[in-house]
């Protein structure tokens, strides 16, 4: 893996973990139980393998890479805490986004109109799609369906968003 890819991966993992452990509204306030997280990681690994995905695992954070027309190669991070899987794909890096107050309103409105995935800025200002779901609720087919939805929508959004500099 190149230095750039490694740095990028570290940043994504740090961002995902920062979100998970932010103690924010909606997050569990109880400390993570290592054995439960470990069990979830084992289960998620098995489901990803069964669904045919290649991934790397660093502790309780998965990294998968996808390549689509237009957007090119882009990463997906799946971070695990207890039974929760937090799936994130990066739509565009911060410096590629023309940010305006109107854009914030537009993205907020889009989050109502839109289905499963949440569109937000991560702590670094990158635009990301995110979805959180309990591992107990999904099997390998479901994970495949969710990942497919992420990949299609990330590429589609990047390719068509006028406020992302190409």
């Amino acid at each position: 893996m190149s230095h750039v890819a490694r740095t990028f991966r570290r940043r994504l993992i740090a961002a995902a973990l920062a979100l998970l452990f932010a103690g924010s509204i909606g997050a569990s306030s109880a400390p993570a139980h290592a054995n439960t997280t470990k069990a979830t990681v084992e289960s998620v690994s098995a489901m990803l393998k069964k669904a045919g995905f290649k991934f790397t695992l660093d502790g309780d954070v998965y990294l998968l890479w996808f390549e689509e027309k237009g957007i090119g190669k882009f990463p997906m991070v799946i971070a695990v805490e207890k039974d929760l899987m937090l799936i994130t794909t990066q739509v565009a890096r911060a410096e590629k986004i023309t940010r305006t107050p109107e854009l914030s309103d537009g993205l907020l409105a889009a989050n109502w109109t839109y289905g499963l995935l949440k569109l937000v800025f991560d702590p670094k200002g990158n635009l990301v799609f995110r979805y959180g779901i309990s591992e107990k609720m999904v099997d390998a087919d479901d994970i495949k369906e969710l990942i497919k939805a992420f990949v299609e929508n990330t590429a589609n959004f990047y390719n068509n968003a006028p406020f992302i500099k190409k």
């Binding site: 909606g26 889009a110 109502w112 289905g115 959180g132 068509n160």
Partner: protein, 163 residues
């Protein structure tokens, strides 16, 4: 920029985003047969979870006491998905400002699972969408309790809501 120009620009961005997302999951026209099936299944899961609820077409409404507040949770069947909506504040209680969009986007970034958004009537709500096939009665119960707790927390902590 004049307010009209600003409004037009905001509308244009919302419109562009809506078009952009039109092909995405969750926006396909709901199929009546599938929606009915999802709605029936949702009602069954709520019954199994011992919730008291009312049902009106594709929408089931649960009212629960959490953190000292009565919270309403709406479970709306849309095709093969369940949209879970928990109102935080009605439109007239929200103090709107040019920065509010950014503030709410930041709040969304901090919340791992739920979305905070305005519904079409301008009410501030928490939102979560899930495929019906991915949940059972326990899963629905957990989502209802979690979103109600988060709603109570958000209401208490938001300084832009008139109490």
């Amino acid at each position: 920029m004049s307010s009209i120009t600003s409004l037009f620009r905001a509308s244009w961005i919302v419109g562009a985003l809506a078009l952009l997302m039109a092909g995405s999951i969750g926006l396909a026209p709901a199929r009546a047969d599938s929606t009915k099936k999802t709605s029936d299944s949702t009602a069954e899961m709520l019954k199994e979870g011992k919730f008291k609820f009312t049902r009106n077409g594709a929408t089931s409404v649960v009212t629960i006491e959490r953190k000292g507040a009565a919270i309403q949770v709406f479970l709306v069947a849309i095709d093969d998905q369940i949209r879970v909506i928990s109102p935080i504040a009605t439109a007239e209680k929200v103090v709107k400002s040019p920065k509010l969009g950014g503030v709410l986007l930041d709040a969304n970034a901090k919340m791992p699972v739920f979305k905070v958004v305005f519904d079409p009537q301008g009410n501030l709500v928490l939102l979560y969408d899930i495929f019906e096939k991915m949940v059972d009665a326990d899963g629905v119960k957990k989502i209802v309790f979690d979103i109600a707790d988060s709603t109570a927390d958000f209401y208490k902590s938001a300084d832009f809501i008139k109490k």
